[in-house]
């Protein structure tokens, strides 16, 4: 049987297209593209540098989070958000009071790259709180977001800190009335003597 020269490239091209599509589908990012495609969630992962923290109220500690793009395409611009959940069912956490910066804008992360964020937490009240970082696309991609990427939670255990000298004000708080009392008493004694 004799093969024509035009039919072999067409079949190869179709096969290649199928293979590429399959590869594209497998390596698609966790979040939908701007054209609305759904994507699997496992391409972006978030990790944190600590798993357990014990602190006193008013103590400050930092940790880092890392957003890894495990996919083959760059992510859209992302928002990294710090979240708190009281796991003891009692502690009221006002995120504003616990951390000065609770969101970062993270630029598109190239495939295979990662981005790191540093977080500062200053617990306000005693209790047990889960602290974690969530990565989500910034608007307008947010409208068609798939599952978010969340880090494992840091178990933050907080105990009440009682300091006798908060902010170092104790010397002033005691000295000023003390000096005044001594001065006035001295004036009184001097007058009585006279």
């Amino acid at each position: 049987m004799r093969r024509s020269g035009r039919s072999s490239p067409g079949i190869a091209g179709a096969l290649l297209a199928v293979l590429l599509s399959a590869a594209a589908a497998v390596s698609a990012p966790a979040f939908a593209q701007e054209n609305g495609e759904q994507a699997p969630a496992s391409d972006v992962t978030v990790s944190v540098s600590k798993s357990e923290v014990s602190a006193f109220t008013g103590d400050r500690f930092t940790f880092t989070s890392e957003i890894d793009n495990n996919g083959s395409r760059a992510t859209p611009p992302l928002i990294a958000n710090l979240a708190f959940v009281a796991i003891d069912g009692e502690t009221y956490v006002d995120p504003e009071d616990w951390s000065p910066e609770r969101t970062y804008t993270v630029g598109p992360i190239a495939a295979g790259s990662s981005a790191t964020q540093t977080w500062t937490v200053k617990p306000d009240l005693e209790g047990d709180v889960a602290v974690y970082v969530v990565a989500l696309p910034s608007a307008p991609a947010l409208a068609t977001t798939g599952p978010l990427a969340a880090s494992p939670a840091i178990h933050l255990h907080v105990e009440e800190h009682r300091s006798l000298n908060p902010g170092g004000v104790l010397p002033v708080v005691l000295a000023v009335p003390g000096v005044l009392a001594l001065a006035f008493a001295g004036m009184r004694v001097a007058r009585n003597k006279r």
Binding site: G58, G167, L170, P171, V172, V176, P177, F184
Partner: protein, 271 residues
Amino acid sequence: MTSLSRSEADLRTPPTQPSGAWMVVAGQELHDIWLSARGPVIVLAFSLLLSLLTYLAAANKELNILDQKDTVNLIMQITLGIGVAVALLFSADTISGERERETFESLLLTPAPRRQIALGKFLAAVSVWPVIMIVAIPYVWALKLGSGLFADAVAAGFVAGTLLTIAFASIGIIVSIFSNSNRLSLATSFFVFVVLLAPTQLPLSGWFGDFIINVNPVTAGSTFLDRVIVKDQGWGEASNLLIAPILAALIASSVAFVIAGRLRLQAGIDR
């Protein structure tokens, strides 16, 4: 018998033109305020109050990252309020208190000009303000606001407080001149202060709120402190809020100056 270097007659006859009666009166009144229990007790109580406030605020500050300026503002507002109120009450006691203690006639029987008598008493009454302001400074410093903001906070407090002290001490003297009863004088003066202070505790908004804030010297002074300390506004930006305190100080002290020249033994002024 005392030994005298000149003839007793010469020493007994005073100069024909006594001057500086206001200094003599002020000196005596300052002696009465600061060497008796009145002034020291008030200043000591004030320092204890500030100590408590500062300690609580600092303890709270360790938990809240952002309210340092609010704490300093609170301390300055309290300093201003107490300083002005005490100066007002001292000045309200000046004339009516002397009438009630029946020591006023002896004072009026001297050749000291009436106006100088009132001026000396006024100066002694307002002396409490700088003392209270100085006592507050270490507390503001202890809250570690940073040197630039510390200087701004202290300067703003001093300016606003001085203007309001002059205004209200003048009002106190005016009320005192027209009162035979010291209780009435104190109550009336304090009532005026409370009426003007009340709007600072109300949520003022809109054009009416702005009007009250700008026209009422107390709300204007309080808002001035708030803008400079908490909202980081410059003095130029917030200076319009000083107009009402300046006008109040000028008008009240002028009225007091005019009527003080016509002091008389009983309440009121000579026609």
